[in-house]
């Protein structure tokens, strides 16, 4: 799954990938605040409507709650907090994207709070961009690379690092 691709890409973040080889990634476009993130479909398990959440006292701020997804209790991550973006109220577009990522060799299932889910599409590393100025709260190690989609900048996040 995504791991193989991650290994072929240097984790330099802003510097990006070697241009010589073109890799095509199938991704799910997810809106968070004013940004669009491209989440690789390999890690996406399902997309569900918001469900009641259970707040976890003492947990890290970006992992504030638990949700029950089909009998499995999984953590709910709010990446807006991780990226220092303002918190917004839930809207009719709010969804939970259930993903599975490898953390220290173990597969971990979690839900990502998304302000909006757009579509599944394919992006190419050829259109990869240098990380533009995105403000001081962007930590380069969280970003695998930035690319363009429909004339908009799209962030391909490094999930394992974000969640670590």
């Amino acid at each position: 799954m995504s791991q193989a691709q991650m290994q072929t890409t240097p984790q330099a973040g802003a510097i990006g990938l070697p241009q010589a080889t073109e890799t095509r990634l199938q991704v799910l476009m997810v809106g968070l605040g004013n940004e669009i993130f491209a989440v690789e479909t390999d890690m996406v398990r399902e997309i569900i409507d918001p469900v009641p959440v259970t707040r976890v006292a003492g947990a890290r701020a970006f992992l504030p709650a638990l949700v029950n997804v089909r009998g499995n209790v999984i953590p709910l991550a709010d990446l807006r907090i991780r990226f220092g973006m303002p918190k917004t109220q839930a809207t009719a577009d709010t969804r939970i994207v259930v993903i599975e990522v490898d953390i220290d060799g173990d597969p971990v299932t979690l839900g990502l709070l998304a302000d909006k889910v757009y579509e599944v599409t394919e992006i190419s590393t050829r259109q990869m961009q240098q990380t533009p100025r995105l403000g001081s709260h962007w930590r380069p190690e969280f970003i695998r690379f930035i690319t363009k989609w429909n004339d908009e900048f799209v962030i391909v996040p490094d999930m394992s690092r974000i969640l670590d």
């Binding site: 469900v51 009641p52 259970t54 707040r55 976890v56 006292a57 003492g58 947990a59 890290r60 992992l63 638990l66 949700v67 029950n68 009998g71 499995n72 209790v73 999984i74 953590p75 991550a77 953390i103 220290d104 173990d106 971990v108 299932t109 979690l110 969640l163």
Partner: protein, 691 residues
């Protein structure tokens, strides 16, 4: 889920080796016990046979040599003794490595073991093959009841009816008998039903064999070694003189089949069925009969199931219990009596199913106690400290996964008891204790918990030395005012060891902290008591299972939480007077006892206004109590425990989560952590007052 045959062999061999170990250790204590010797021999023989069958040639070859040497003990040529048991144990270990990791083993080790065994058994003179004794005339001086001058044997064979389905061919066994000497074989067709009812896969034929041979009874039994548990075998010496051979013996069986016309068989069937059970046991001796009966019973009542299937079953039952809770909630919020009745019925069934499933997962503690006997045996030899190892409560049952996780902590505790607890034989002599130390491993139920205790009769903990060490490590200021109990807690500190010298076994200070962490991860606690000069005991207090607990559902602010009911002592109301009396301090007067309390609204940062009548749930872990102040007590709740995600591993106040009747998740409080928190808050409350 299917296992490949090699894996099946490995599993079987592992079990056989375990039982071999137990048998050998028992043999060390009662060297004359024929049953134990036979049991060990049987285990070896089976390992050899199935090892060869599955291509474990090294295993088969070595086991053969081992078995050959062991045969001398079995034949009564020589008594088992302590040294033989020790060598046999190392042989058993060698077989295990041969099975688990054949490439890394060095055949020289195996040769050395066999040589040592032969030296011990034969005093150096026994032939390496060990095959000689069979025909030797002095076989009679062994304890077995053979009579070598015997004219022959009369053998009655009755297999269990499903033996053919298990892949055994009785005719091959009869051929094996013939190989021992001239035989007359007579088929007993009393039990064969009429043709219409005949099941070709079911063996209803019994045999009577007259064997004319000077072979020993053991040799005959060896023929049936692999099917011994699935048959009735009666072997009696032939009355003196030689009975004539039946020349037509091979013809007798087909003849008999033809001669038994279906109708006659049908008419005779009831009578035959009735007479059969009487006829057969009459031939066998009474104890043998009892033995056979027991074996048959054992076989009929156990099924081997893969562990993962049990886990899966438990998961499913967990889901069912959650779904049932939701159903009950819906049923009780409505007015439909029929649905209420069904919901109650399902509740009863689900709870029954839950109990049964948990019961299936329960295994007796004895299944790991055996391992420790070996540990004690080896340690007491290596350290030169003779130790009596006593186990109590082997039949106490616990969840399979719990028992597995308990093994390592117990190894640490037993090691400590021998290495640090039990004094050297010389020191023991000066304190008028018997030279042999005593370690008792016991397990018993207390309520919904299991108490596992490791107790030694050694010197006890040296409180002064622990204190000195703690001061040396800077854990406490010199001369700090601490109770003995508090000082002993330093033993659970990472890297804390008072051993003056580091032995290969212990003294490195790793261990006790790991023990504590493992036990706490299982929602258990450790109590340590010691009497100087008389020994110490470590008690592990553990829940029966990890999967489902009885919980108390409570509400704090908007959120609902579960408190494990086993930790709850009582629930009281936090009255206005009580609050006034507490004067802002976090203490509560519970019938004269000062109990610190925590306002969970503060601890969990709950939003909104507190309920007007706050409740206090008094919880306890071990001897310490703490009150938890909540907004509402909702009621008891069957709690299926879901572990928290790795991403939440930094969360300490909760030990897991569960799913409530309405489908939302609720957190399960880790009372031990909250108690510690409450204690420390109470301490900090007290300190400024004292200052």
């Amino acid at each position: 889920m299917e296992l490949d045959p090699t894996e099946t062999f490995r599993q079987e061999a592992a079990e056989l080796l375990d039982s071999l170990e137990t048998v050998l250790l028992d043999l060390g204590q009662t060297p004359q016990d024929r049953d134990l010797i036979d049991a060990a021999f049987r285990a070896l023989h089976t390992i050899k046979g199935s090892g060869a069958m599955f291509g474990f040639d090294k295993v088969a070859a070595f086991t053969h040599d081992f078995e050959t040497a062991f045969d001398l003990i079995r034949k009564g040529k020589i008594d088992a003794n302590h040294d033989i048991v020790t060598v046999s144990l190392s042989a058993r270990d060698y077989i295990r490595t041969l099975i688990e990791d054949p490439d890394s083993t060095d055949p020289i080790i195996g040769e050395a073991i066999v040589e040592e065994l032969q030296r011990l058994i034969g005093g150096g003179s026994a032939p390496a093959t060990g095959l000689a004794p069979v025909g030797e005339p002095e076989a009679a001086d062994g304890s077995s009841a053979e009579e070598p001058a015997q004219a022959g044997w009369s053998i009655e064979i009755a297999f269990e009816s499903d033996i053919l389905r298990n892949g055994t061919n009785p005719l091959v066994l009869l051929d094996d008998l013939r190989a021992l000497g001239p035989c007359a074989v007579e088929a007993d067709l009393d039990n064969v039903p009429e043709l219409g009812a005949l099941d070709p896969e079911s063996c209803q034929i019994a045999w009577k064999v007259t064997l004319h041979s000077s072979c020993s009874k053991d040799e005959i039994e060896d023929v049936f070694m692999f099917v011994r548990d699935e048959m009735k075998l009666a072997i009696a010496p032939l009355p003196g003189g030689t009975a004539p051979l039946y020349p037509e013996l091979d013809m007798s069986m087909p003849d008999a089949v033809e001669e038994a016309p279906p109708r006659v068989a049908a008419a005779e069937k009831p009578a035959a069925v009735k007479s059969r059970p009487e006829a057969s046991p009459a031939a066998s001796s009474a104890p043998e009969k009892a033995e056979l009966g027991r074996r048959a019973e054992d076989k009929g009542t156990t099924v081997r199931v893969q562990a993962e299937r049990l886990d899966e079953l438990m998961d499913r039952v967990g889901e069912l219990v959650i779904a049932q809770a939701r159903l009950s909630q819906i049923a009780h919020s409505g007015t439909d009596l029929a649905i209420k009745a069904i919901a109650e019925e399902i509740e009863r069934l689900a709870s029954g199913l839950r109990d049964t499933t948990m019961g299936v997962r329960m295994v007796p503690m004895g299944s790991i106690f055996g391992r420790f006997r070996r540990l004690v045996h080896d340690l007491s030899r290596d350290l030169g400290k003779p130790v009596d190892f006593v186990t109590v409560g082997e039949e106490t049952e616990m969840d399979k996964t719990m028992i597995e996780r308990l093994a390592d902590p117990l190894v640490h505790l037993i090691r400590n008891a021998i290495d640090h607890g039990i004094e050297n034989a010389g020191d023991r002599a000066t304190t008028s204790k018997s030279a042999t130390g005593r370690i008792e491993l016991s397990a018993r139920y207390v309520g919904a918990q299991v108490l596992v205790t490791v107790q030694d009769d050694g010197a006890g903990l040296n409180t002064a030395r622990i204190r000195a060490k703690a001061e040396e490590n800077g854990l406490i200021p010199p001369g700090a005012n601490l109770s003995e109990h508090d000082i002993h807690q330093f033993l659970f500190h990472p890297g804390f060891s008072t051993a003056k010298t580091i032995s290969a076994l212990s003294g490195r200070g790793v261990g006790m902290d790991v023990v504590k962490r493992t036990i706490e991860a299982m929602r258990g606690t450790i109590d340590l008591t010691t009497i100087p000069g008389h020994g110490s005991s470590v008690t592990l207090r553990l829940p029966l299972t990890l999967a489902i607990i009885d919980g108390l559902l409570i509400r704090v602010g908007e959120a609902r939480y579960i408190i494990p009911l086993s930790a709850v002592e009582e629930c009281i109301e936090l009255t206005a007077e009580a609050e006034a009396r507490a004067k802002g301090r976090s203490f509560l007067n519970v019938r004269g006892d000062l109990v610190p309390f925590l306002r969970l609204r503060d601890v969990f940062d709950a939003e909104g206004q507190p309920d007007p009548h706050q409740k206090v749930i008094v919880t306890s872990i071990g001897d310490t109590r703490v009150g938890l102040v909540v907004d509402q007590i909702i009621g008891s709740h069957q709690t299926v425990i879901k572990s928290l995600s790795k991403l939440h591993s930094d969360v300490t106040m909760f030990s897991g989560a569960t799913i409530l009747g309405d489908g939302t998740a609720a957190l399960i409080m880790d009372v031990a952590q909250l108690v510690t928190l409450g204690q420390s808050r109470a301490e900090s409350d007290r300190t400024p007052e004292a200052a």
